[in-house]
Amino acid sequence: MRDLAWDAEAPPLVACHDLRFSAGGAVRLEVPRLHLRAGAPTAVLGPNGAGKSLLLRLLHGLIAPQEGRVIAAPEVRQAMVFQRPVLLRRSVAANLDYALRAAGEGRRARRARLPDLLSQFGFAASARQPARTLSGGEQQRLALVRALATAPDVLFLDEPTASLDPAATHAIETLLAQADAQGTKIVIVTHDPGQARRLGGEVLLLNRGRIAERTPATQFFAAPRSPEGRAYLSGALLL
């Protein structure tokens, strides 16, 4: 893993200004300013309902902000992995092929790359298997490989290992470490402090729709700066 550095001069990969999102008659997310730059992973922590998924979907452009702006340059490639993998009702290979084609790769390039992708990520034997017959852990790993296949600059993940066993979780984290080493910026929502620690980047703590603190992971777990951070780690942070 690369060293913990976020180049404050580099232009952000994704940023938002004065972001506000209300739903159901309440402000669910309020982020005056957030710049995500290339560098070590960002783990988004926070209690249920804090607005973590909302933040990711806004940053990824799946929902439009009601107030404020999300700034994402079109040449910055983004991908997202959801909590529950959504695979197409096709073979494992066809799922990867679909993502490559959606990213604009030509037929010949895809035909050349697909076998490499499949074997590189351990799907050579199951290439022709219907993707939805894979186990939950395998499905999530395939969803991650599909997201990584286009070598995104930013990869958002929303609790990708929430329903996986330790081995499947480990497989996912290994792939994330590889992607990180290859320069993909990882932004991951997780409820597992251990996962945030293992990814070894920074922690972004959300509480009640606001960023309570943003600290390097080692520091966060040793001595959080905010009262919310202390409460979260002691298990006392409730909405």
């Binding site: 959801f82 959504v86 017959t133």
Partner: protein, 235 residues
């Protein structure tokens, strides 16, 4: 009038000996209804998908209309197509009235709403499931339609079969626009109606039996698609 048992026996003979008059009628029925379903699918699949994912004014009303048209009485469709194709109608110059083409048109009108409505409900469910994932992959709302149609293929096959079942069994529309002309526009249902009224029961019975077999086959195919959702989905 023949005895009942006698009629059954000669009906069975007609089927088993492959009576040419019988098979001519069956072949025309299949040709007309299969072509009508193919046309209905060509229109109904994309139309249903567009209704499922589109966001345009009048979408709700369009869905209500398509659903209501599912129950169109065949004689009304026959009448409407007749008016279009009759010599004084807007399409009269085509001189299609009393040809298989007119029958195909009528059945296509009858079946398209069924295919479109069933497609819409199937695609709508899938669209909700796939929406964020497809947009994340950079695929827009309209660009998603071919993907969603392919993902919904078992449901689309069921929709087409349901449409075929309706087309092959209806009598009103093909009778009005086809005219039940011997060796030209006579199909199974119109022949049954005519031969029964003439008291010529053995041909009517033979055709009726074949119709029931066809209906059974269609329903078995629908059941097979429904019973193996997992395999069918991945087929």
């Amino acid at each position: 009038m023949q005895g009942f048992a006698e009629s059954f026996a000669s009906a069975a003979m007609l089927i088993l000996t492959g009576d040419p008059a019988l098979w001519e009628i069956v072949a025309l029925s299949l040709r007309v209804s299969l072509t009508a379903v193919a046309i209905a699918a060509l229109i109904g699949f994309p139309l249903g998908a567009a209704l499922a994912v589109g966001r345009f004014p009048g979408r709700g009303a369009a869905i209500v209309c398509v659903n209501a048209l599912m129950g169109l009485p065949p004689v009304v469709v026959g009448l409407a197509v007749y008016l279009m194709l009759s010599a004084s109608g807007p399409l009269g110059v085509l001189q299609l009235l009393y040809t298989p083409a007119a029958m195909i048109a009528a059945q296509a009108v009858l079946v398209t709403p069924i295919v479109a409505a069933l497609t819409r409900s199937a695609v709508e469910g899938l669209a909700a499931e796939y929406d964020e994932q497809l947009r994340s992959l950079g695929i827009g709302r309209l660009g998603a339609i071919p993907t969603l149609l392919w993902e919904a293929r078992p449901a689309l096959a069921t929709a087409a079969l349901a449409g075929f079942g309706r087309a092959i069994a209806e009598v009103g529309a093909v009778l009005i626009v086809g005219g039940n002309i011997n060796h030209a526009t006579r199909v199974m249902t119109t022949t049954i109606a005519l031969e029964t009224s003439k008291g010529n029961l053995h041909l009517a019975l033979a055709l009726g039996a074949l119709l029931i077999l066809l209906a059974l086959a269609v329903n078995a195919a629908v059941a097979a698609l429904g019973a193996r959702p997992r395999e069918a989905l991945h087929a």
